[in-house]
Symmetry: C2
Subunit: 307 residues, 2 copies
């Protein structure tokens, strides 16, 4: 197809309805987005951890856009169909001080570069993680005036990091401003549910998608229709740790700590890389949140990634 392309010179930082549209599109049009990685290009395939000296957090998580969709009005639904990806073949995973679920236990920065082909990410020797590209961030401009940080996800989408937004997925976003003002970024080559260390396999990946408009059909928050292929069938047993606590966040932290210990003990990875591996390949699920006063959060690690 002959897509129009939005290049990476049209990135912006933060959501703001006052940002001039980078493109105007008709409903039903497919568009190709160039996506810069979540460091805004500060990290390259040749970077090492020294990149975090003088790291400019103001350039973090850029999104490409916004696209003004003709006829979109507050209360409409913007339907985004993910058509294809153009992966770059490299990505980074980092521990950034002060950021991530266990930031208190991992105070030092780490940068880990991975290469990947169409099927697998070579994380470290003996660990191959299936490639599952998706955009961590996609959304529309909020109605409230002013600049809103791109880091937290919002009612209108944004940095949701829902790893089911794979090729063929359909994301439905609630439009809050005329033209919707759709943007996308933060592409990941793989991520587990939770993205526990705060980063996935952060990778520049081109995204082609179609934008459709459904009048007066805004969902309360985004929904996703994911194809059966969104979750790979496990090729081996799944190892599961539990966190059992009267607070879901504590339970999630416990399940993650237990998994890091397991990976360290069983496979010999240093704790920092085990933590990164949890972030890119293991899934946080809520097993129960009704048996008061204690809830169970589980972390699920597919053992097939260990070769």
């Amino acid at each position: 197809m002959n897509y129009r392309t939005l290049h990476t010179d049209r990135v912006h930082y933060g959501w703001d309805l006052a940002i001039e549209p980078a493109m105007r599109a008709e409903p039903g049009e497919s568009i190709r987005f160039q996506i810069i990685d979540a460091s805004g290009g500060q990290i390259t395939a040749e970077s090492d951890v020294s990149v975090f000296e003088g790291y400019d957090s103001g350039r973090v998580n850029p999104v490409t856009g916004p696209v003004h969709v003709e006829g979109a009005e507050p209360g409409d639904a913007l339907r985004v169909t993910i058509e294809s990806f153009e992966p770059s073949g490299w990505g980074w995973t980092a521990l950034i001080p002060g950021f991530g679920l266990l930031a208190d236990q991992f105070p030092d920065p780490l940068l880990h570069i991975s290469r990947y082909d169409s099927d697998f990410i070579d994380f470290v020797d003996g660990v191959r993680v299936p490639v599952r590209p998706f955009p961590g961030t996609l959304g529309v401009a909020p109605a409230a005036a002013g600049r809103h940080s791109v880091i937290p996800p919002r009612r209108v989408g944004g940095n949701m990091d829902v790893r089911d937004i794979v090729r063929g997925a359909v994301v439905t976003l609630p439009v809050e401003v005329p033209g919707a003002l759709f943007s996308i970024g933060d592409t990941h080559a793989a991520q587990g549910d939770g993205e526990v260390c705060g980063t996935a396999v952060e990778s520049p990946i081109g995204v082609s998608l179609r934008l459709d408009l459904i009048k007066d059909a805004a969902p309360p928050t985004p929904t996703i229709l994911a194809p059966p292929t969104a979750r790979l069938a496990p090729t081996g047993p799944t190892f599961i740790t539990t966190g059992i606590a009267d607070d879901l966040m504590t339970a999630a932290r416990d399940a993650t700590r237990h998994m890091i210990d397991h990976i360290t003990d069983e496979y010999g990875l240093p704790p920092e890389l085990a933590y990164c591996l949890c972030s890119i390949a293991a899934d946080l699920r809520i097993s129960e949140l009704v048996d008061a006063p204690n809830w169970v959060v589980t972390m699920h690690l597919p053992t097939g990634i260990f070769t």
Copy 2:
């Protein structure tokens, strides 16, 4: 195999190291447990909602046991291998006032009886949920003296409702008292991650399992090694709702409310049955909990259950 059987006359209510063992077993022995449903037999396949008038909450969630495992000492790991199930073919799902994730929005009791064969639960006309039996509750006695409610899960396991504990799964529990004192109950014919309405397809199901002892190998909380078959491959797209909030519990509630609305709008189920369906067939996952200040909890509904 010639298993010894623990019958349902050996149920107990609550965890207590002072409860006399119902059986003494050698490590490596397989045992067959008769399991009474989570109402303690108060609900039958012929019951209706009037059963909750005069419902005895003291008889809720009985467990069969305890089994004293010879040689088990505090600090050991008790390894439980689930060998097979004997399903009864019927189960119940209920809204019990004051119980469940959305108890405030569903104040009235409801009882729903389902029949199932070896493959599917006939939930209502047009909704068939795959059968995936597992024990909601299994654990060992805590070290602290006295009677501990069986409702909340604990460090030693108990009412964890981890739906991956299917046939072939291996659960590793931390032993806290001599003999471990293992018990099991609360069998479910199917459940989603979260068990949001507080009940699954509660069903009397016999469980055969093997108990092994690993010295000095207690995990901090239970772990599970689940076979690749624990999660069924979806037969159709998965519909996903989001909850986006600065608190995981609020996000989980929002994702669940949005899914109930979706099921009601799309498939015409009354909200009460939609809520029950979320509990038995939809999964709560934590998509991200690092993009401060907002976290994303997603609920995943396999659309293949709608026939």
